[in-house]
Symmetry: C2
Subunit: 233 residues, 2 copies
């Protein structure tokens, strides 16, 4: 590292989002930890830590290490994506810092008995640093992607029924969706697939087909584009 520039603090912060099943449902919630050191001692904060260049292959590996060490989320499949990098001299009283932020979508069951507390994203307590703004950005990203991806499905267990999936979309967006429009869009977008011979028996109702996410996320570029390649008009 060249020594003609002052070193910077590089950290990782993780926004783990989940949908609690409490009644009444709290809505989309974020996992927080109480800080036990200054600055912001005793204030809730996102799980985070320093990048360990000697053990983290890259920043995503650092985020996975933080999630495993601080929230017990590891191993199996969950959604994790880089959100942004926040920076500057104003965000941490210790000096100029940059923090690379990842957000994770995890079914509530995976958090059972885990550490950390959940707070609804629409009613956050005081958070350390610029963490409230970071949570808002993660929620904005999730809501924006919800309209053209199967992202909310990562908040469900591996298999789910269509009404369960619609409920998750509605809770993420905070909007009611028309059932037939929702099912038609899901069909068109090809984001989920039926589990062969997978049914959930439900009391007096007939068994409900179970679905799972397809790999990859479709994104739609058909708003203003025609389907012919550019050439002579």
């Amino acid at each position: 590292m060249p020594d003609d520039f002052p070193p910077v603090i590089l950290t990782i912060d993780c926004v783990l989002l989940t949908l609690p099943s409490d009644v009444p449902a709290a809505g989309l919630s974020v996992a927080l930890l109480m800080r036990d050191t200054a600055p912001f001692e005793g204030v809730a904060a996102l799980p985070g830590g320093y990048v360990h260049a000697d053990e983290d292959a890259d920043l995503e590996a650092a985020a996975r290490r933080v999630l495993a060490a601080k929230l017990g989320i590891g191993g199996a499949r969950f959604f994790l994506e880089q959100l942004c990098t926040v920076s500057g001299s104003a965000r941490d009283p210790r000096g100029w810092s940059a923090s690379v932020v990842y957000y994770a979508l995890v079914p509530e069951a995976r958090l059972a008995g885990g550490v950390g507390r959940l707070a609804p994203v629409d009613a956050l307590p005081q958070l350390a640093f610029d963490h409230a703004a970071i949570v808002a950005r993660a929620v904005e990203r999730l809501r924006a992607k919800t309209s053209y991806s199967n992202l909310p499905g990562f908040l469900l267990p591996e298999t789910f029924t269509l009404p369960e999936l619609q409920d998750v979309y509605e809770r993420v967006l905070g909007l009611a969706l028309d059932q037939s429009v929702f099912r038609k869009r899901m069909d068109e977008m090809n984001l989920i697939e039926a589990v062969p011979d997978g049914f959930r028996k439900g009391g007096r109702h007939r068994p409900a087909q179970l679905y799972r996410l397809r790999d990859g996320f479709a994104s739609l570029h058909d708003r203003i584009v025609a389907q012919r390649p550019r050439g002579r008009r």
Copy 2:
């Protein structure tokens, strides 16, 4: 900075995209500089540099400093957005590094007589580090946002005609668009506005109305959502 973790190299890289007006048109192009030091001496690379924590208010300020110092792009309004942060031990032979990447959209006229060379994004020369992958990601982001924003308009001068705007969308997407569908979508999305009394006289044609970008970018969340707030169904 705590000294129990090894320091990391934190840099900025800038993907400046523009649309050259050469005939035949080269298509979407990126500004490159030739490296004059190792590693990758003599190889083309994205303009970049170290973060100067003592003078850069934040990472965006660092990106603006790099663009001004290395490409002469400063002052006036242009589109600049953080793309991602790339990282790891494999990308730079000098050691573990993280680079925060910004992409900029600039009209060709702003680059006139400037330093750097332009290379079409679809026919890049060999690039240093992981810069080819970074350019591909910036193009992917621009193309994805093109379908629901006025982003391609930032590749034009401040005022433009509708045929010029459609041409830019087509060149960014590499697709031909239907004129009436394009105009209808532009109208619905409310992304541009007519310049009052702004017309361009064109030979034997009648004068063409000039438009400019509205502030802000509309994004559309109406794909699968209904317009009533969630509540009792």
